[in-house]
């Protein structure tokens, strides 16, 4: 999927109401995008794992497993793939939720760079960057 104004940059956008049942479909679309743009097997594995965790985290922790509005944006620049997973949920709070730390740890271990960005409107934005040619 292309976005106006980003013609020169390969770009994938997935946006809408997402539940846990949609995680697999999003994972497949991001994986296909990575394959189309030359991601190595190791890079693909890392990308797919991290995106799955980020989307699942948003559904489970941002929306208390009920699902909600989610935006996934993926682009490729200079042989690196960047992913943003943003929700409008309750944000990153001190209320304990099962598996939160483990999911964040997996994302961090998978990505070359990783940030969790607070959003003024609420919710959480996870930004990750992956070299497309990384080796296992």
């Amino acid at each position: 999927m292309s976005r106006s104004g980003h013609a020169a940059v390969p770009y994938l956008a997935i946006e809408g109401f997402v539940t846990s049942a949609d995680v697999g479909g999003i994972r497949k679309r991001v994986r296909a995008f990575g394959i189309d743009h030359g991601a190595s097997a190791a890079a693909l594995a890392a990308i797919v794992l991290a995106v799955s965790e980020a989307v699942a985290n948003a559904v489970v922790h941002g929306y208390d497993s009920a699902g909600g509005e989610l935006r996934v944006e993926v682009d490729v620049e200079e042989n690196e793939l960047e992913v943003v997973v943003a929700d409008c949920g309750r944000g990153f709070t001190s209320a304990p939720t099962r598996g939160l730390g483990l999911g964040l740890g997996l994302m961090r271990e998978s990505a070359a760079e990783f940030e969790i960005r607070d959003q003024p409107s609420g919710g959480v934005e996870v930004w990750m960057r992956f070299p497309l040619d990384s080796a296992a």
């Binding site: 890392a46 001190s94 730390g101 740890g105 961090r108 940030e115 607070d118």
Partner: protein, 118 residues
């Protein structure tokens, strides 16, 4: 993704515990880097080495930076202190622990993202 050469060889459960702590330290560095609102309390994940830990601790960015000033110091929820760790600070909201000299301290030093790469 971490290069294999950056990942210390693990020989004991305590070393695996320490390596887990460094992963959560990296997560918190990502939280700090992405923080747009610089005032007030910021939620960070507990850096104790228990993989199932779900605790989130809140502190100011100034307090967080004070923890990060030493590569062997980690931020944990109150009570999440292992017996082989030294407690540097305890409070209502969080505690600061330090890895001891030896293999555990070495793991903390070698994996510190702010450390000297040379």
């Amino acid at each position: 993704m971490a290069d294999d050469e950056d990942v210390p060889a693990i020989e004991t459960p305590e070393e695996q515990f320490a390596l887990n702590e460094t992963t959560f330290r990296d997560v918190n560095e990502g939280i700090e880097a992405g923080r747009r609102e610089r005032e007030g309390l910021v939620p960070f994940v507990c850096e104790c080495g228990v993989l199932g830990c779900t605790a989130v601790v809140e502190l100011s960015l100034g307090e967080y930076e004070a923890v990060r000033a030493e590569s062997r110091c980690f931020l944990v929820a109150p009570g999440h202190v292992a017996e082989f760790e030294e407690v540097r600070r305890t409070g209502d909201n969080f505690a600061v622990i330090a890895k001891p000299d030896g293999p555990l301290g070495d793991i903390a030093d070698r994996t510190d993202p702010r450390g000297d790469p040379g």
